[in-house]
């Protein structure tokens, strides 16, 4: 119950690898991922949970790392886009994004991929509307979303 202001050790699994980190209570997970672990896949963009560029998965659940205290990740599994492929083998969503041409500038891509992964883990047969609903708050200023949705639907249909 006693409060903590000084750094505490948290134990978490990041992209399959267990790590212990010293973090202050006010450290944001996005800063820890980018600056301590050198994982630059999650981007700081709007910084207000509106855009989705910093999306990561915590125990499979999509979260905005920009507005999430690092201490909350204690005891949990964090997945960033760097952990999506298996070695040189791309994740099916990454392959589908390439095939569909769903990447232009690429800034939103890591968030889109992780959001899609979270959705497909929850919903085995999503409709186009389900995909659009889940992607609300994942902004892309290049593609117009059509090819992103196409890519996600292609993976969903293969899995069916």
């Amino acid at each position: 119950m006693d409060g903590a202001r000084s750094p505490a050790t948290i134990h978490l699994v990041v992209n399959g690898r267990a790590c212990d980190l010293e973090v202050a209570p006010h450290a944001l997970l996005l800063d820890v991922l980018r600056d301590v672990l050198d994982l630059k896949g999650a981007k700081r963009s709007c910084d207000t949970q509106v855009c989705g560029a910093c999306t990561i998965l915590i125990d499979g659940m999509a979260v905005s790392a920009c507005t999430y205290l690092a201490v909350e990740a204690d005891g949990r599994a964090v997945l960033t886009v760097e952990g999506l492929a298996e070695g040189e083998r791309l994740h099916p969503l990454q392959r589908a994004f390439l095939d569909a041409g769903a990447v232009q500038c690429g800034f939103c891509t890591s968030g889109m991929l992780l959001t899609a992964r979270a959705m497909l883990a929850e919903t085995t047969a999503p409709s186009r509307e389900d995909v659009l609903h889940y992607l609300r708050g994942s902004l892309c200023r290049c593609t117009g979303y059509r090819k992103i949705v196409e890519a996600i639907m292609a993976v969903a249909e293969t899995a069916r």
């Binding site: 119950m1 006693d2 409060g3 903590a4 202001r5 202050a24 209570p25 006010h26 450290a27 944001l28 800063d31 910084d47 207000t48 949970q49 509106v50 989705g52 999306t55 659940m61 999509a62 979260v63 905005s64 507005t67 999430y68 205290l69 201490v71 959001t115 979270a118 959705m119 609903h133 889940y134 609300r136 708050g137 994942s138």
Partner: protein, 304 residues
Amino acid sequence: MLRPFTLHRPETAEEACALLARLGEDAVPYAGGTELLLLMKLGLLRPPHLVDVKRIRELNELADGGRLTIGATVTHRSLERSPLVRARCPLVASVARHVANVRVRNVGTIGGNLAFADPHSDLATLFLALDAHVELVSPGGRRELSLGDFVRGPWETARRPDELLAGVRLAPWPSRAAAYVKFGVHERPTLGIAVALGLNGEDGRASARIQDARIAVGCVGPRPARMFTAEARLRGVSVDRVDDVVGAVGDAAAAGVDPADDLHGSADYKREMVAVFVRRALRVAAARAGGVEPATSFPYAVVA
């Protein structure tokens, strides 16, 4: 970047209240952080102490008694997916599904949403229409307030600094004769309308009469408000004749709101949109009362 703070993690409501009482205005309850951390990043709030309430078990419960109890730290996502909520208050689950985006819903809590009292809250408007109450815990005991008494104004509630919002209680509303429609092009809604129709009999009969109509309008005024004059015009009307009165009901609601000019639009515009969307929400609720799910969609609007 956040300024440094001390993080407290009490395990019981009593411990949390003792901390809040001891630390006074220096401490702020913290749950999902989806509202609080935003203001802290901007430096608009600089609390030296955060009291994390997520380890308090009773706050995380969804329970079915005579009333449905939604613990303060239940997330929007849990509400959206709970079989209990879907069965007992399907509109609550449906509205929760449309709050913000999936990342906010995964982390943001019902209690945080209500205690923050952002005027652009979907749930506060809906809960007002459903006659919900909130439970507050303090070292001195517990008290229950109606949602209308709890939300005092923009970002202002009746919660005292040493009180903790424990949860929300509402009578089940299993009827389909209800709707929530929100409209807007910004991240937060410009307008939210909740309509709940109490009928003299079961859903699914077009000839059923409205006994108890509730209309709440959110986002346009300083806090969500019930539209009692508009509601009175619906009493005794059969659901298949709602079209005859929707115009008058919409106008009465527009006359009852207290909008201000802001980035969401002028006061006149908002008043007009209240009339339009009260009509639309009412038609949806009446169709559902008659057993039909209308295939309606409106530009820049969500129908829940």
